[in-house]
């Protein structure tokens, strides 16, 4: 009987979501039905207490601040500066300026929590510059779509905060754990670009005028603002001076200072970034509210416990479970955005993950990687949407050229599985 009701609830959830009801409200609605069916508790009071608790929790305060910081930086000349500072160094590597996409995204990811924002901020500079110099569209768009996803893996990261709050894992630890996988993944992307360039040398335009070493070094001064911001934010977390939330506050102040120094800080850009950040946070918060209530309701139904018992009864090897979950998330990611995917599944999955003996920090990085893949898979992938808006190319065209990078992300998951130290080494050496 309970099994039927649970199956009915899951079907109802997907039907309501699929019909186009706002995600946060769909979750709350289904949670309500579930609680009404399975408990005698006062549903409405439990709902608002749960939502109030999650809305005002201290750990979550990092989220709106990092979102606001991203909105401020999006409105500065930071990406322009980064292109100027990076380009002279990359002209000698096979693939030349294509690497500005990858390294640009890697660096910007270290001050931005979002994949789509990273993609948009770097792309608005590199895409026109690469086109002007005659780089083929397919490879510049493909590498940008893939590298943009590093915005999630390299801290700060919105999705890591969401996961950390759901799974009750230290956000600072998650952030630091994402650094090495992020750099390795960026390395894989660069290796792919080099391989492509060696195979198609005729498609790579000639280098710009070469500069002397001192000239290059002088051009690098443009990187100083972004690097100091990274040091302030990530450095303060790694050394234990600041919590993730405090680092976020420092980041907001730092980006305001950068904007002011560059002369981009007007009353208009300030209020635009504030309003944009507030609404973007509000959008995510509504999903989180619905999810917190759904998690409560699922707990009463006992779904997480039953699922854990069932999966453990299957005697899957950990690798098999990871592969199954990866396939499941890739399919889910075709229809849902990353945040909804994480909040929807974590409440149910966590007991299983703990019972199977996975480290929750490791698993968090795994989830972030899988969400990254979802960003570049059609029909729902936010990096694809962003690039569609910027290039006017068809979404399947962009997805096709991002596909090799998608495969590299799968390689990265396997690498992380067999060498878990990639995620655990840095957090172990953190202070505080």
């Amino acid at each position: 009987m309970e099994l039927y009701i649970t199956a009915f609830l899951i079907l109802a959830l997907f039907a309501i979501l699929g019909s186009g009801v706002w995600i946060g409200l769909s979750l709350a609605g289904v949670a309500w039905i579930g609680m009404e069916l399975f408990t005698n508790r006062p549903v409405g009071d439990s709902m608002v207490i749960t939502i109030w608790g999650s809305a005002s929790s201290w750990t979550l305060t990092a989220l709106p601040l990092f979102i606001w910081m991203g909105e401020i930086l999006f409105r500065t000349k930071l990406s322009e500066d980064m292109f100027k500072g990076l380009a002279p160094w990359l002209d000698k590597i096979p693939g030349r300026l294509l690497h500005t996409n990858i390294i640009g995204c890697t660096i910007f990811a270290a001050v931005s929590g979002s994949s789509a924002a990273t993609c948009a901020t770097i792309g608005k500079m590199t895409l026109p510059e690469l086109k002007r110099r005659g780089y083929p569209d397919d490879i510049s768009i493909g590498t940008l779509a893939g590298a943009g996803t590093l915005g999630l893996l390299i801290p700060p990261s919105i999705i890591m905060i969401v996961y950390g709050v759901m799974a009750n894992v230290s956000i600072a630890k998650l952030f630091i754990a994402g650094v090495l996988p992020g750099i390795i993944l960026a390395g894989l992307f660069m290796a792919y670009t080099i391989g492509w360039a060696l195979k198609n040398p005729e498609k790579v335009p000639p280098a710009d005028q070469s500069m002397s070493f001192t000239q290059k070094l002088y051009e690098s001064r443009h990187l100083i603002p972004v690097v100091s911001l990274i040091v302030a934010v990530l450095g303060s977390i790694y050394t234990g001076i600041a919590t993730a939330t405090e680092a976020a506050a420092l980041g907001v102040v730092g980006s305001l200072i950068i904007a002011a120094v560059q002369g981009d800080l007007t009353r208009k850009t300030f209020s635009e970034s504030l309003a944009g950040g507030t609404r973007l946070y509000c959008m995510i918060a509504l999903i989180l509210f619905g999810a917190s209530f759904l998690t409560l309701s699922m707990g009463y139904i006992g779904l997480p416990r039953h699922l854990a018992e069932w999966i453990i009864g299957l005697h899957l090897s950990p690798l098999a479970l990871i592969v199954v979950l990866m396939v499941f998330f890739i399919i889910l990611g075709c229809f849902l955005d990353g945040i909804s995917m994480v909040v929807l599944t974590m409440g149910v999955l966590l007991p299983t993950i703990e019972a199977m003996g996975f480290d929750l920090v490791w698993f968090g990085i795994f989830i972030v990687l899988v969400v990254e893949m979802a960003q570049v898979t059609p029909p729902v992938g936010f990096n694809l949407f962003v690039l569609q808006g910027m290039t006017k190319k068809d979404i399947t065209y962009i997805a096709k050229h991002a596909f090799p990078l998608f495969l590299l992300m799968i390689v990265m998951v396997l690498l992380m599985y067999f060498v878990p130290e990639i995620t655990s080494w840095l957090p172990r050496h953190m202070e505080g």
Partner: protein, 172 residues
């Protein structure tokens, strides 16, 4: 009436922005309070949380009216205009029901916190009904916004939104 409500949603959205600044200031006070005790608010953590909550709830309505709350449009966007309108009406009705319930119980929460004299367990010892007002006001605005939206859909003012060019969604 509609214009008045839209103005009201703008005002609460504006307040949400101020509370976002409040969140920042509360966190900053806890950082700098370590060095300069005069700046240290007792229980800054809790104040940051209250400001964040108020910011999220108060922005709900204006975010909805700008079409920025996320929904799965995969199926609905492939329908004919007439079918789209019917399904959109269904979505709005369901959303109106959920948001009204949320508003109803949020107001009830404020009244109960007041009646039972609920006080925060943190250092701040704030009577909880005060920050919870933000939740009650914000969710009420959201329910009103859904009502206005529903009227717009029925009267044909609001039609399918075409994806905007240029302006990238900064989501995630």
């Amino acid at each position: 009436m509609r214009n008045f409500l839209d103005r009201l949603f703008e005002v609460t959205g504006y307040l949400a922005g101020l509370f976002m600044i409040g969140t920042l200031l509360a966190v900053l006070s806890s950082i700098f309070g370590r060095f300069i005790p005069a700046l240290d608010l007792q229980g800054a953590d809790a104040y940051a949380g209250y400001c964040m909550a108020a910011s999220a709830f108060l922005a709900l309505a204006t975010t909805l009216r700008r079409g920025e709350h996320i929904r799965v449009t995969l199926i609905i966007n492939r329908l004919s205009p007439a079918a789209y309108r019917w399904l959109d009406m269904f979505c709005h009705l369901l959303a109106l029901a959920v948001s009204t319930t949320l508003a109803w119980y949020s107001i009830r929460l404020v009244r109960q916190s007041l009646a039972f004299n609920d006080v925060s367990t943190g250092l701040d010892a704030t009577p909880l009904w005060i920050p919870q007002i933000g939740m009650a006001v914000g969710t009420t605005m959201l329910a009103l916004a859904f009502a206005v939206d529903l009227v717009d859909v029925i009267s044909g003012v609001k039609v399918r939104e075409e994806p905007k060019d240029g302006e990238p969604a900064h989501i995630e």
